[in-house]
């Protein structure tokens, strides 16, 4: 954590979170502080509860033990300040690109002119101009996730929750989207919680990486990423801190999935 981040008040505080699905404990006593304007990646093997943790941060799931606070207020249902980007995009097939992006603002009953303005802004931002009237089934995976990102950003969220958003697109598109997310985020600096199982993706994007282990899901280590911004994918890969950090996290992940080196 950088000194400036520490000086800022915590945006999200998760305290002693545990969650069971039947007899399976998916999260065990997870405590985590995320600061205003920080980009945090939750990283771990499948089954480590990283998605479950993200969903408790949005109030989509309530923990069996412990609590989540956003700006000091207890989270019991999805809060106004947060927006989620989903792994399988979560677009409504019966809504066009514009209608999908407008959807959360329609629910919030914003005035139509304001909605139109924000929809246009967000669609431009993710480079989907010209596709406003298209239905999602006409779009590629990468374009669909751009719609998902536009939908979240149009709300102007203070907390952006991203659940393996690039896991369902091809490797090339994935890096393209990472680069775009970097440049967008470095302009707006929302607080971001980004779930991934890719070490490279975590190092590329995050200020801080929370490495989790499975059975039960627990926080294993938290790493600061000492790579200055603005970043590009190339500048991150070239950075002297990149390889050592990658090796350390890789070791953690092996321990975390219960295998020996």
């Amino acid at each position: 954590m950088t000194a400036t981040a520490q000086a800022r008040p915590p945006k999200v505080v998760a305290t002693g979170i545990s969650k069971w699905y039947g007899a399976l404990e998916v999260l065990h006593n997870v405590t985590l502080e995320i600061h205003q304007g920080e980009f945090v990646c939750l990283l771990g093997p499948s089954g480590c509860g990283k998605t479950t943790l993200m969903r408790t941060l949005d109030g989509l799931i309530l923990p069996d033990e412990g609590s989540v606070q956003l700006d000091g207020a207890l989270i019991t249902s999805p809060p106004r300040q947060a927006a989620v980007v989903f792994q399988q995009f979560g677009l409504f097939p019966w809504k066009t690109v514009s209608q999908n992006v407008a959807f959360p603002m329609v629910l919030d009953r914003l005035p139509p002119t304001q909605i139109d303005e924000k929809v246009k802004w967000a669609i431009d931002l993710v480079g989907l101009k010209g596709f406003e009237a298209a239905y999602p089934d006409r779009l590629s995976g990468g374009m669909r996730q751009r719609v998902g990102i536009a939908r979240a950003l149009a709300l102007g969220p203070e907390l952006l929750l991203m659940d393996e958003p690039f896991a369902s697109v091809d490797a090339y598109t994935r890096e393209l989207l990472q680069a775009e997310l970097l440049s967008i985020w470095e302009r707006f600096r929302q607080t971001v919680v980004f779930v991934t199982h890719s070490i490279d993706e975590a190092i590329t994007l995050a200020d801080r990486i929370v490495v989790m282990k499975a059975k039960p899901g627990e926080v294993l280590h938290i790493y600061d990423v000492p790579i200055e911004r603005p970043r590009t994918i190339a500048s991150v890969r070239r950075h002297p801190a990149y390889e050592p950090l990658r090796a350390k996290i890789w070791e953690d992940m092996l321990t975390g999935s219960g295998r020996e080196m």
Binding site: Q88, F92, W94, L107, E180, S183
Partner: protein, 280 residues
């Protein structure tokens, strides 16, 4: 991001060219299918004609005779009035059966308690041949318009109910979660998620309801008070007027095809995102 714009431009141009080529291929395929359909039509009608010409009139009539009798029945006979009567009964039954079926299916699909309470009866009646219930319906409601409407709506009701129930049960849970994450209340959930996902199932159900409703229409007209097209059919059968019978049957077929085409048009209006070619 500016760096990527030229790239995405060439990609969208490429995509457009691929789309264009695909459309041309689809047009070609459609033309070929149209040709096959026309040929099949010619062969079937030709066979009908030849068989009819070589068979005694009592057993079967040539196609041209059937058309002539159809004209006679329509212009000078009772068929035109019978069609008006039957179709209005059918439409009445279709509307009643569809509305009740949609409400029943939605309630069963969305409220587990309601499903537990009435689901078993719905399936029990669905498994019973409805014809077997007609004496009971006549006993309760007589032989008039009321009984006929009830019979037709019952034929329509079950396919609609089952289809809508499946539709509500198959609402994508990940989409309801998306809506929940954006703070949708129950009303918004219905408006933006549940109803749009169920519309294609409703159309499918009503389309099956059309086919079943036409069955119900004939059965109600033959088994209660003889009336409508059922009456024309029964009279021509009783007096061995085979060509008249075939003319009535031809009319029903045309009606069935017509109503299904109307429903299909309606589906394209109501659910333009739902592509039957790909199932989504």
């Amino acid at each position: 991001m500016d760096m990527q714009n030229p790239l995405s431009d060439t990609r969208s141009a490429l995509r457009e060219r691929v789309l264009e080529r695909r459309q041309r291929a689809a047009q070609k395929r459609r033309n070929r299918f149209l040709l096959i359909r026309v040929l099949s039509f010619v062969v079937v009608l030709g066979a009908w004609q030849i068989y009819g010409l070589n068979t005694i009139d009592l057993i079967f009539s040539p196609f041209t005779d059937v058309i002539a009798h159809l004209y006679q029945l329509l212009v000078y006979g009772p068929l035109a009035a019978a069609i008006v009567y039957s179709v209005s009964m059918f439409l009445g039954g279709l509307v009643i059966g569809s509305i009740v079926g949609i409400l029943l299916g939605v309630a069963m699909g969305r409220f587990a308690g309601f499903e537990a309470a009435v689901g078993m009866y719905v399936y029990a009646i669905y498994s019973t041949p409805l014809v077997a219930l007609i004496p009971l319906i006549s006993l309760w409601f007589g032989f008039g318009i009321e009984a006929q409407l009830i019979i037709i709506s019952m034929f329509v009701l079950f396919p609609v109910t089952i289809a809508v129930y499946n539709g509500v049960r198959n609402v994508d849970a990940s989409l309801t979660e998306v809506a929940r994450s954006f703070r949708a209340n129950e009303m918004a959930m219905w408006r933006h998620v549940i109803i749009p996902s169920v519309v294609p199932y409703i159309v499918t159900g009503v389309s099956q309801g059309v086919a079943m409703g036409l069955v119900g229409m004939f059965i109600s007209e033959i088994y209660t008070a003889l009336s409508g097209m059922g009456q024309v059919l029964a009279y021509s059968a009783n007096s061995y007027k085979t060509a008249d019978m075939l003319a009535v049957l031809l009319t029903v077929m045309v009606l069935g095809v017509f109503f299904r085409a109307v429903i299909e048009k309606l589906r394209k209006r109501l659910a333009p995102w739902f592509n039957t070619d790909t199932g989504r």
